[in-house]
């Protein structure tokens, strides 16, 4: 047994766990803070994960966290006063992808966000400028689930290493 193995050994004298990069952050739901956090996530996982997977992870997390920043602020009495939600984010590298858990203390997520959906209708006369975010989240994730407990939203999903488009 090498000295490194001894240091990593668990109670039964076996090597206890492989070291894998993880990411955890508590952040204010502001676009600039979301951007800085995404850049840190890229740095954390770039040596372990392909550019393609990292790009999909970054896009999904941007969509989820920017939705919180844009829609989830709670009103505090006066109409011009609102509370910026606090986001808790965890990402763990697994054998088949990146498992993500995101919670926030903003207003409840409307149920239709997590229901299967298609693209907004593309009317070439009047192109849609929004409505793509949840479509992208659903397309790029697996095992997407949502739970509301007390004053927090809980969202969990996995970004697989291999992406198979739902609409090839």
């Amino acid at each position: 047994m090498t000295s490194t193995e001894r240091q990593n050994a668990g109670l039964k004298g076996r090597v206890s766990a492989r070291s894998q990069p993880m990411f955890h952050r508590v952040l204010a739901a502001r676009p600039g803070t979301v951007r800085d956090t995404l850049i840190e996530i890229r740095k954390r996982f770039c040596s372990e994960v392909s550019d393609d997977t990292l790009g999909r992870l970054e896009l999904v997390l941007a969509e989820v966290m920017n939705n919180v920043a844009e829609h989830a602020a709670t009103q505090l009495g006066a109409p011009d006063r609102s509370q910026i939600p606090s986001i808790h984010l965890s990402i763990v590298l697994h054998e088949s992808g990146l498992a993500c858990a995101i919670t926030d203390d903003g207003v409840a997520l409307p149920a239709n966000c997590v229901l299967p959906r298609g693209l907004p209708i593309i009317d070439t006369e009047d192109l849609p400028e929004g409505g793509f975010g949840w479509y992208l989240i659903q397309d790029l994730t697996q095992a997407l689930c949502y739970y509301r407990e007390g004053n927090r939203n809980f969202l969990a999903f996995s970004v697989p290493f291999l992406h198979r488009a739902t609409n090839p």
Binding site: P31, G32, V34, R35, L38, D51, D52, G55, R56, E58, L59, A62, E63, N66, A69, E70, L119, I122, T124, D126, L127, P128, E129, G130, F132, G133, Y135, L136, D139, L140, A165
Partner: protein
């Protein structure tokens, strides 16, 4: 905002120097460029090679620009990086824009 606008005569060339077109800048990006393209009223070529991330708010800004140009004027996007190309492709908006590889240097 990192944007270089050059009027070459027949076209308006906009080199985007921002590394990210995301929710933090999408509104300013859209408002500024909409004014520029409406003012010039000519075909637009956007050089996108320096942009390595775009989210759906950035896509919305690009669509707003397309809508600000009259339909007979092309809006060409050059040099999309993989992360940016993915957003256009997954949302089928690659059918709405004229997307081309980075132009060769012409003598």
């Amino acid at each position: 905002m990192q944007l270089t606008v050059t009027d070459t005569g027949p076209t308006l060339v906009i080199a985007v120097g921002e590394a990210r077109i995301d929710a933090a800048i999408a509104t300013r990006f859209k408002d500024h460029l909409r004014e520029v393209v409406v003012h010039h009223r000519k075909p637009v070529v956007m050089q996108m090679g320096a942009v390595d991330f775009m989210d759906s708010s950035g896509l919305g800004a690009m669509i707003a620009l397309r809508k600000a140009l009259s339909e007979d004027l092309p809006l060409t996007l050059e040099g999309l990086t993989p992360n940016v190309e993915r957003v256009f492709r997954l949302t089928r908006m690659d059918t709405v824009f004229d997307i081309r590889p980075e132009a060769e240097n012409e003598e």
